[in-house]
């Protein structure tokens, strides 16, 4: 469902951005870490969209790779 996909992606981004933004958890989420998390999410979505768009444009149709894409 839509809600499950939303939560799944939030789990994945939280895990990835936690690695990037959280060195030692402190008594509160400081503004530097919060900015890092927001940037991290934005960049992750930018990256996903860039990859999706580029894949659609290139359509390297002869490789084993693209066969797997068309499953």
């Amino acid at each position: 469902t839509q809600k499950q996909r939303f939560q799944q992606l939030v789990h994945q981004m939280t895990e990835l951005c936690w690695e990037k933004c959280m060195d030692k958890p402190g008594p509160k989420l400081d503004s530097r870490a919060e900015t890092c998390f927001v940037n991290c999410v934005e960049r992750f979505i930018d990256t996903s969209q860039f990859i999706l768009n580029r894949l659609e444009q290139t359509q390297k149709s002869k490789s084993a790779f693209s066969e797997s894409l068309s499953d």
């Binding site: 933004c21 402190g26 989420l29 998390f37 927001v38 934005e42």
Partner: protein, 80 residues
């Protein structure tokens, strides 16, 4: 909820217990006797579940929840 709990436990265990790649250090070897079924002793006389570094885990939990909420809001606002 199950998945969140698993991820949080994994992350906070890694952050708060022992050192990556090394043995658990002395301050974390206070719990003994667990395998023989003996009553377990905690050096500080606390109940069993309090033998972990509580402050570190509690902060880690709160920060993980903050992070989850921040990511969730940022993703939501991006979707609109």
């Amino acid at each position: 909820a199950q998945e969140l709990l698993q991820r949080m436990t994994d992350k906070c265990f890694r952050k708060c217990i022992g050192k990556p790649g090394g043995a658990l250090d002395n301050s974390e070897q206070v719990r003994t006797g667990g395998r023989s079924g003996d009553p377990r002793v905690c050096s500080l006389g606390l109940p069993l579940r309090l033998c972990v570094p509580q402050k570190c885990i509690a902060m880690c939990m709160d920060r993980y929840m903050d992070s989850w909420n921040t990511v969730s809001r940022a993703y939501n606002s991006r979707l609109q």
